[in-house]
Structure formats: structure tokens, C-alpha cells
């Protein structure tokens, strides 16, 4: 197929074919990271701006490293150092970046829809690095990439996503990618964090982890935020861990070969026990490695289209 998008905003709008195409491209780029010389010239002379209006270290680092390995020049802008903190609008910030001839903009923003807002107004390619509770498409892609790499397929897999589904952009991107590729998605957590509307997106809902644990091929544990507890979505991390934490006893009931995943940063003792995070089922560090390959693929594909449009 021919890739035609200058932006990657949401997996909800991609076809299964497009998702597979990114995964295949990422598989090729993964080899680059294993070489002695970890660099290809694909984006040489091009400028990528990491515009992070919401704090993030690992996603920003991953995008930065991906861009460096594609030989792009990278500029990092974070909310505290940018004029956004002085009240400049996102539109004006973006127009300034374009005036400086940025070719690709990677945007992390607390407001859902912010990347689409930029993409509609800029010639530069816009990559969504997480927007509010909407989507985090490269995280969804790297999760699916890891499943496919480890288990050899995505279709027919039973994937449990556990935790704060309501507010999670990672969950949404995972649900879209997995259901489009034919996996079964089971959302697990208290009813306050797993609203029924998700059934209409094509996921199954289960409020008891123990009921479904032995059937799962993959358990993807999402980070639990303390703000949710304060807002009354669940009584406390202790009760949460007892109901939904993947402790050693629960991990013992996992299928042989089942994968334990987590987008990080993990809370040892809350979402999962340390022994499980470091145990044989865990592919948490594979996810980090694969994230780099997936982001190289996305920057390369969208970059090619954005650059062609500029020319």
C-alpha cells in the first residue's frame, strides 16, 4: 500500500491495512536499533519539534531518539519553557513553528483534539503523542507490535486491559487497533472507571479480574492515578490492588506464554507486584524498545508525506 497521511492523530481513523503497514515498517526499523551504527539518513536535514505541553519524559525521549536515528534535527519545547505558559495560543505557537520551517511536530497536550486542531492548520506533519483522554496512537501501535512479535499474531487474541479505562488514551488507542485487527478486547476495572459506553466501541466489559484472568493471552495494566482516588472513582489504592492488582498469586493463574504489559511508569505493588513486573510473563521493557521502532516508522511515513506536500 501507499501511505498518504501527513499526520497521525488517532487509530480510530486508520484502516486495519494502514495499521499493519506501520507495524511492518516498524519491524524493518527495529533492525536499525540492533546495529552498531544505529542511524539511517531518512530524515536528514529535516526538523522535528517535540512540543510537549503536558509533562512526559519517556514518550518525549522515545520520539527524540527515534528522530535522531532517522537523522532529523530535533528541538524540544516544553510547556514551562514555551510562550504557551505566557498565554500565547496554541494556534500562534504552531504558526510560529511553521514560520521556522518545522517539518514534523510531535504534540503532547492535555486537551483532547489539540493535535487535530494543529493538523488542520499546518502543512507540517503532526504526530499525536497523547491528547487528554482521547488517544495515544504510538503507544497503541507499540503495544500491538509487541503482541504480534511475541505471539505471532493479533487476530483471535484475548487481550485484557485493566484499570483506569475511563480517562485512558492508551486504552482507547489499544481498543481501536486491537478490534480492527481482530483481537477480542476485555476491559477490566471498577464500574466507575469502566463505563458501559465502551461496549459500543466493540470491547467486552468485565468487572472481575479473577473471572477472566486464565483466558487472557495478554494483560495490559494501566497506570492508576492518585487524582482519581481523590475524585472518588475508587476508595483507595489498597482496595484497588486487592481487586485488580496483578499480584504473584494471580500471575500464577495466567496462561503459559501470556504477556504482561504496562505503558509505564509502573506502580509496583499497585497495578502489579514487583515480582510480576520482573517475571517471565513481563514484556514491559520490550514495549520500550519497540516504541522506538514504531515511532521511527511513524515519523518516517508521515514525514515522507509532509515533505512531499511541502515540495
Amino acid at each position: 500500500m501507499i501511505w498518504t497521511r501527513k499526520d497521525l492523530i488517532a487509530l480510530s481513523e486508520l484502516s486495519a491495512e494502514e495499521i499493519v503497514f506501520i507495524l511492518d515498517t516498524a519491524a524493518e526499523f527495529k533492525g536499525v536499533g540492533q546495529r552498531r551504527l544505529k542511524k539511517v539518513p531518512s530524515l536528514r536535514g529535516k526538523t522535528l519539534v517535540n512540543l510537549f505541553v503536558e509533562a512526559s519524559t519517556r514518550t518525549r525521549t522515545s520520539f527524540e531518539l527515534a528522530a535522531v536515528r532517522l537523522s532529523a534535527d530535533v528541538v524540544n519545547i516544553t510547556a514551562t519553557t514555551s510562550s504557551l505558559s505566557k498565554g500565547e495560543s496554541l494556534k500562534d505557537t504552531a504558526k510560529n513553528l511553521e514560520a521556522l520551517a518545522a517539518d514534523l511536530i510531535v504534540l503532547r497536550h492535555s486537551a483532547a483534539g489539540a493535535p487535530q486542531f494543529l493538523a488542520e492548520r499546518l502543512q507540517a506533519g503532526v504526530i499525536n503523542a497523547g491528547d487528554g483522554s482521547h488517544e495515544h496512537p504510538t503507544q497503541g501501535l507499540l503495544d500491538v507490535f509487541t503482541m504480534r512479535e511475541r505471539l505471532g499474531r493479533v487476530e483471535g487474541l484475548k487481550v485484557g486491559i485493566v484499570g483506569d479505562i475511563r480517562f485512558s488514551r492508551v486504552a482507547r488507542s489499544n481498543i481501536w487497533a486491537l478490534t480492527k485487527l481482530g483481537a477480542e478486547v476485555i476491559l477490566i476495572g471498577p464500574p466507575t472507571l469502566v463505563p458501559r459506553e465502551f461496549e459500543r466501541i466493540g470491547a467486552r466489559i468485565c468487572h472481575r479480574l479473577d473471572e477472566v484472568l486464565p483466558e487472557l493471552d495478554v494483560v495490559n495494566l494501566l497506570r492508576i492515578q492518585h487524582e482519581r482516588q481523590k475524585a472518588g472513582y475508587f476508595p483507595g489504592t489498597g482496595e484497588y490492588a486487592s481487586l485488580f492488582g496483578l499480584n504473584a498469586a494471580r500471575a500464577a493463574r495466567l496462561k503459559a506464554g501470556a504477556l504482561v504489559m504496562h505503558p509505564g511508569p509502573i506502580h509496583r505493588g499497585v497495578e502489579l507486584d514487583g515480582s510480576v513486573a520482573d517475571g517471565p510473563h513481563s514484556v514491559i521493557l520490550d514495549q520500550v524498545t519497540n516504541g522506538l521502532a514504531v515511532r521511527m516508522a511513524v515519523l518516517y511515513l508521515c514525514g515522507s508525506v509532509a515533505l512531499k506536500e511541502e515540495a
Binding site: 496554541l90 486537551a111 459500543r200
Partner: protein, 426 residues
């Protein structure tokens, strides 16, 4: 300028008297008269409908304090261009209209710059903070026709009960923006449902409106004061309203064009022209609102005209203010949906919902063609086809979700006190 006019040969629809016939309407010195005035302007309106002047009881004119969004001058010009001869201004200005001095200032500005009649409302509570009653009696003397904390909602039920009891002294109705703060949540931006889930935007559930409509039914019943539920959006609100009315409770409701024309699916592109409070809901809610209009549970149509500057709306969705303009599109949307597309009501019913019904609620001497009443007339062409062009708006606001819509039905002339305030270029 002459304030006398003879309006000849139109279909006269005056629900206040039940009149629906072809004939002439006369205005002499600004008031309706039984016979033609000498030297009056002659207007031939054959093929058109002559109605009492339309009243929009829910308008944000933004003055004082927000002149970049709208002024009394531009807002009333927009009203005239939309076929409205009277607007009721909401008090969520800056400063909040919670004091007779501000009311007097607005009345004076309106007399000076208003293209149509402006009726003022005062805040229920000081600063619309929901805590301490505003000087309602003094504002009543200054001319307000209702009290409301619109844009906000009094959360403390005891404060609201006292307000309802106190308003009984002046016969003022309360207009309530029905929004329970705890179930809506401070971050809510759109209807809670499938689309809020997909888009990752915090949801505003139906119950956040319905809880307050139910509260208002209880308070109106207990105090006898008329409480009017503004901009209804949720199916359950209609059921609660219907039940209360069946027991004689003085609870009423209004519907805005967008809540019967659009659903939450419209937000899929994060276009801030679809961001308003209360939010667009689902088809089942539209069905319930239309049913409520059909069986007279909902008796009033209004716009919630809420202009914002372009730069305020052209931002990420979360940062955009709530609200859309409505004055220049409402009559078209109402005709299109209620008369032509869904055929929910007939023309006299539509006219009643824009004239005598709000006039009765607010005790205005308008909404009628009766001799002696102020000579406000809207000439309507219910069949006229036109396309919404936001760049042609008289309002400062361009924040409409209806740009480019093809509609059937439009006001073609707006007459205020016998003087033509606006008419459509042929």
C-alpha cells in the same frame, strides 16, 4: 420618521386571539389600531404571514463588559435581522447585572442603541454566586422582567427556595439554567455518551439537568412561583416537566434550535462551534423534545444566543468557551424542523411559541396584534429558501454550527413600534 404603517393583504396569524385569516393590520403612532392611520406607510405583504413580533427570551447581549463578543447595538441588530422584535437579556455580564444601577444602565443603552426592544433580567444571587439574594425588589423597580443566574445554577436548594418565595412578592418568574454542578463536574464539555467516550472529552450526563428540573418542580410547587427551565436538552427533563404540569405546577420550559437540530455526533471533529452548555445530546433526546413541543409540555422557543469572538473559539476544544449565536438562524431552523421536516406543529403553534407564550410568562404587553398593544410585527415567509452565511451576520459572533445550511422559512421584515427595524433585501 413615521411610526404608522398599514400592512396589507397578508395571512394574519395571532395566536393570542386565535385569529388566522387574510387581511390588513394597522399601526398608528407605534400601536396597533383598528383602522388605517392617515399618512401611514403602506406595505403590501400578500403571500406572507403577519405575526405579532417575535420575542426571544434568552439572549446574551454581552454588555456591559464583553464588547468584543457583542454589544447591545450589534446584538439587537442581529435580533432584527432574525425576525425578533424583542429580546430578553441575560444578566451574566461583567459586572453581573445583580444591581439596579446596572439594570438602569442597560435600559438606557438599549433605549439609545437598541434596534429592537430589550427587556432586562437580574441575577438571582449577588454576582450569580448562588449564595446571597441579589436586590430583586430594587431591580424589579428598575424594570427587570425575571431573575436568573443563567450560565450558572443556584446549587443550594434552600437559597433557591428563598429566591422563589421572595420573587412571589413581585410576581417575577425565575429562569433557571438547570445544571447540577456535582454530577456535571467542573470539567464537563459535552454530552456523556458514546461520543464523549470516543473523543475522550469529559461528559455532562443528562441527570445533571434532570436533577435540577426535578428540584425546580418541587420548589415551584411549594412556593407557587413560576420557574422556567431554560434551554432543555435531556429527555428526562421533558418527562419531569410534563408530570409537574399535569398537577398544575407553574413549571415551564424552552427549547433552543441546536438541541433539536444536532446531536453529539457533531463533535467528532472537535469543532468548537458545536460546544455549548447544555450540550448537544442524542437522537432520543431530540425525539423527546419534539414530543414535548407537540403535546405543549414545552411552550416556548428561544435561542440562547451566545456570541464569542473568533479568537476565543479558535482554540483547543477544552479552552473554548461554551455557546453559539442563534438570533439570525433560529427562525429558519424552527421552520425547517418543526414545520417542514418533522411536522411537529402547525404555523399558529410555532408563532405562539415565539410570541404570546413568552409574553405571558414574563408579563409583557406584547406577543399580540390586539389594538392598543405596541406595534411589533414580524413578517414571515415560511416557504422562503435561503442559505446560512455566517459572514453576513449582523452579530459580532460567527460561532454558528449552521454555516452553509440550506433552510426553508425566514423572517423578511421586522417592525418595532411601527418602524421597520430590518427588512430582507429582495
Amino acid at each position: 420618521m413615521s411610526h404608522s404603517v398599514n400592512i396589507r393583504g397578508g395571512r394574519i396569524v395571532d395566536p393570542s386571539s386565535g385569529r388566522d385569516e387574510t387581511g390588513d393590520v394597522f399601526i398608528a403612532d407605534g400601536k396597533f389600531a383598528a383602522s388605517p392611520a392617515p399618512g401611514a406607510v403602506e406595505i403590501d405583504v400578500r403571500g406572507l404571514v403577519v405575526c405579532p413580533g417575535f420575542i426571544d427570551m434568552h439572549v446574551h447581549l454581552r454588555e456591559p463588559g464583553h464588547g468584543a463578543k457583542e454589544t447591545i447595538e450589534t446584538g439587537t441588530k442581529a435580533a432584527a435581522a432574525g425576525g425578533f422584535t424583542s429580546v430578553v437579556a441575560m444578566p451574566n455580564t461583567n459586572p453581573v447585572a445583580d444591581h439596579p444601577g446596572i439594570i438602569a444602565w442597560m435600559e438606557e443603552r438599549a433605549a439609545q442603541f437598541g434596534a429592537v426592544n430589550v427587556f432586562t433580567t437580574g441575577a438571582i444571587t449577588v454576582g450569580s454566586q448562588g449564595e446571597q439574594l441579589a436586590p430583586i425588589g430594587a431591580m424589579a423597580n428598575a424594570g427587570i422582567v425575571a431573575v436568573t443566574d443563567d450560565g450558572r445554577c443556584v446549587q443550594n436548594h434552600e437559597v433557591m427556595r428563598r429566591a422563589a418565595e421572595y420573587c412571589g412578592l413581585f410576581g417575577l418568574p425565575i429562569l433557571d439554567h438547570c445544571q447540577d454542578a456535582s454530577t456535571a463536574g467542573a470539567e464537563a464539555m459535552m454530552h456523556e455518551g458514546y461520543w464523549s467516550t470516543v473523543l475522550g472529552l469529559p461528559g455532562w450526563p443528562r441527570m445533571a439537568e434532570e436533577i435540577i428540573v426535578a428540584r425546580d418542580a418541587l420548589l415551584s410547587e411549594a412556593t407557587g412561583t413560576a420557574i422556567h427551565c431554560q434551554h432543555l436538552s435531556a429527555a428526562g427533563s421533558v418527562r419531569i416537566l410534563r408530570e409537574a404540569q399535569s398537577r398544575g405546577v407553574r413549571l415551564s420550559g424552552e427549547v433552543c434550535p441546536h438541541h433539536i437540530a444536532l446531536t453529539d455526533e457533531s463533535l467528532a471533529g472537535y469543532d468548537t462551534s458545536f460546544k455549548m452548555n447544555p450540550p448537544l445530546r442524542e437522537q432520543s433526546d431530540i425525539d423527546a423534545l419534539l414530543e414535548g413541543i407537540a403535546d405543549r409540555t414545552i411552550g416556548i422557543l428561544a435561542t440562547d444566543h451566545a456570541p464569542h469572538a473568533v479568537y476565543e473559539k479558535e482554540v483547543e476544544f477544552a479552552a473554548a468557551p461554551f455557546g453559539i449565536v442563534g438570533l439570525e438562524t433560529a427562525v429558519g431552523i424552527f421552520c425547517e424542523i418543526l414545520l417542514h421536516r418533522c411536522r411537529v406543529i402547525d404555523l399558529p403553534r410555532l408563532v405562539a411559541m415565539l410570541t404570546i407564550n413568552p409574553a405571558r410568562l414574563l408579563n409583557l404587553d406584547r406577543g399580540t396584534l390586539a389594538a392598543g398593544a405596541p406595534g411589533d410585527v414580524t413578517i414571515l415567509d415560511p416557504q422562503r429558501e435561503w442559505t446560512v452565511e455566517r459572514e453576513t451576520f449582523a452579530s459580532k459572533g460567527r460561532n454558528t454550527p449552521f454555516h452553509g445550511w440550506k433552510l426553508r422559512g425566514r423572517a423578511v421584515r421586522t417592525i418595532v413600534g411601527g418602524r421597520t427595524a430590518w427588512h430582507l433585501e429582495a
